[in-house]
């Protein structure tokens, strides 16, 4: 029982915090945090586990969002099927570009993904404008029909759905951390030659990690599309390419809970500061620099040891394997 608690305590704590936030903070804010943290977890997995930094996450976010939007605008009305369509779009896109991208070194990987984000942006804005309606975007809020049990067309019930999806995703990534696949990802990050000479395929491991991470990102795009009820090319704007990277660096690069903490911090700062001044980036930028200089581990990476000591008191029961992806 104690071991099970040790294993899950981070997830329980993170989601208890999110549930508590629902009671005190505006619903749109909490929903945004949930979607943003799902958006960032894929990027965090790629960076922390495999060593790939990606500035192309908006591309996969947009592919998921447009997959959902196309279904709900042109073909059907059920938002759940729309989410499945977005998820499938992200999976297929990752499977197509993955074999090309994962052969690259991390720096080239970052740039080629950024290039993909630019390509997707112009595809959605210009080339496919007859279908995507260009800058006006696709509006399908009124097309969606209410669904039984959990009506995700209503923001309050959408929160419950996004919360369950988020919890499932974190449990999945926690499981991945503990699998041999997770260990292989860490191994390929630090010593691909050795892994190869043990008989493992670096390519297969990286491709699988890439597909998992970007399908998760596409899922975040689908959730965003259903929540807003509209999608425009702005979602894949290259100007927003660094957002998930900033969030995970802020929360704690390569940690499992960093994306949640980073999303809360980033969305919170953005929300509060943008109410005070128009050009909120002018404040957020320097703030991020200060936070990162204060602790390279990010907020979660710095707080985690303190929280463990506080929660477990007796150091001997502190889990050997912390929740840090890096530290596995």
């Amino acid at each position: 029982m104690r071991k099970a608690f040790d294993w899950w305590w981070g997830i329980a704590l993170a989601f208890s915090l999110l549930a508590a936030m629902r009671a005190f903070l505006p619903l749109p804010f909490v929903n945004e945090i949930l979607i943003f943290s799902i958006y960032a977890i894929g990027c965090s997995f790629l960076l922390g586990r495999v060593g790939f930094i990606s500035f192309g996450q908006p591309a996969y976010l947009a592919i998921g969002a447009y997959g959902t939007a196309f279904y709900l605008f042109y073909f059907g009305t059920n938002p759940y099927i729309g989410i499945l369509a977005g998820l499938a779009s992200g999976f297929i896109a990752a499977l197509i570009v993955g074999p090309l991208f994962v052969r690259l070194r991390s720096d080239y990987f970052a740039l080629v993904n950024l290039a993909l984000a630019v390509i997707v942006f112009f595809l959605m804005q210009k080339v496919l404008a007859p279908i995507t309606k260009g800058d006006n975007g696709l509006w399908f809020l009124t097309n969606m029909t209410s669904t039984p049990v959990l009506d995700i067309t209503r923001p309050s019930q959408f929160f419950v759905f996004a919360f369950i999806v988020g919890l499932a995703i974190w449990a999945f990534y926690k499981y991945l951390d503990d699998t041999l696949f997770g260990a292989c990802c860490l191994a390929t990050k630090i010593n691909e030659d050795k892994l190869q000479f043990l008989g493992y395929s670096n390519f297969s491991i990286r491709l699988a990690a890439f597909v998992i991470a970007n399908t998760t990102t596409a899922l975040a795009g689908s959730l965003y599309a259903v929540y807003i009820g509209a999608v425009s090319p702005e979602i894949t704007s290259p100007a927003r390419a660094a957002d998930p990277v900033v969030v995970i660096l802020l929360g704690g690069a390569g940690t499992l809970y960093g994306p949640i903490v980073g999303s809360i911090a980033y969305t919170g700062m953005k929300d509060v500061i943008s109410k005070l001044i128009g050009n909120w980036e002018m404040i957020i930028g320097p703030l991020l620099v200060i936070i990162m200089l204060a602790g390279e581990k990010g907020i979660w990476g710095t707080l985690e040891p303190w929280l463990k000591t506080l929660l477990f008191r007796n150091k001997s029961v502190v889990p050997q394997k912390n929740s840090s992806i890096e530290g596995n």
Binding site: C184, I190, K194, F197, L198, G199, Y200
Partner: protein, 259 residues
Amino acid sequence: MEIFRASNVTKRFGALVAVNNVSYSLHEHEVAGIIGSNGAGKTTFFNLLTGMFPPDEGTIHYRDVEITHETPQQRVTRGVMRTFQLTSTFDNLTVIDNLVLAYFRAHRKASLLQLFLNTCKQHRNNEKITAILETFDLKDLRDREVRNLSLGEKRRLEIAMTMLAEPKVLLLDEPLAGLAESEIQAVLEILRRQMGRQTILIVEHKISHVKDFLQRITVMHEGSIIAEGGYDECMSHPEVRRSYWQIDIDAETSAEAGS
């Protein structure tokens, strides 16, 4: 019985001929060594045998099957494993998880699905892994991250990982490099125990440490084999004395004639 055969193998890097028309055989359960000065082409030849890169010319056979263009993974499947000149482990994993990764690939199919379905924890108490921890005196370091180990401990772990896979051919690239005397003895003791069980090829600078148990020594110089045979035979070879020990044979001969 011949287990490994390289025939007229050549490898060029631009204008540099790193390995020049080398033919070499390794026999089953033999413990052989390749020595040579820096830049002799030992490690390049070693990399050709292990599939790090293919030769420009020539062929490599394993048990009469041509493996010249096989990938390292395919060679591992055949039972050929190697260690690296610079100790090569997964520093961001624990000692036990390094061993689990080595064990799992060698004893299971290790398809992606298997990697997803198995956790490291499931295999940490495996009998063979526990035994190898004892053998290599790594039991107390079991849960320590490899980045916190000394060079000697890492070297022992690297060889333990290779042994755990129970390879038929073990290729060791300078296994004693950077080790203290006590650590050298520990590694040599482990290697001695494998004699007669595995085919071992060692590339080593510290020839004095390994000469006692090498059954055959091959000396390379400027990409070519210049001598082959027992230790004394090789060391007295004039070409070896000139290139490896840098002894001026002509001056020595003149001095002897003068005296």
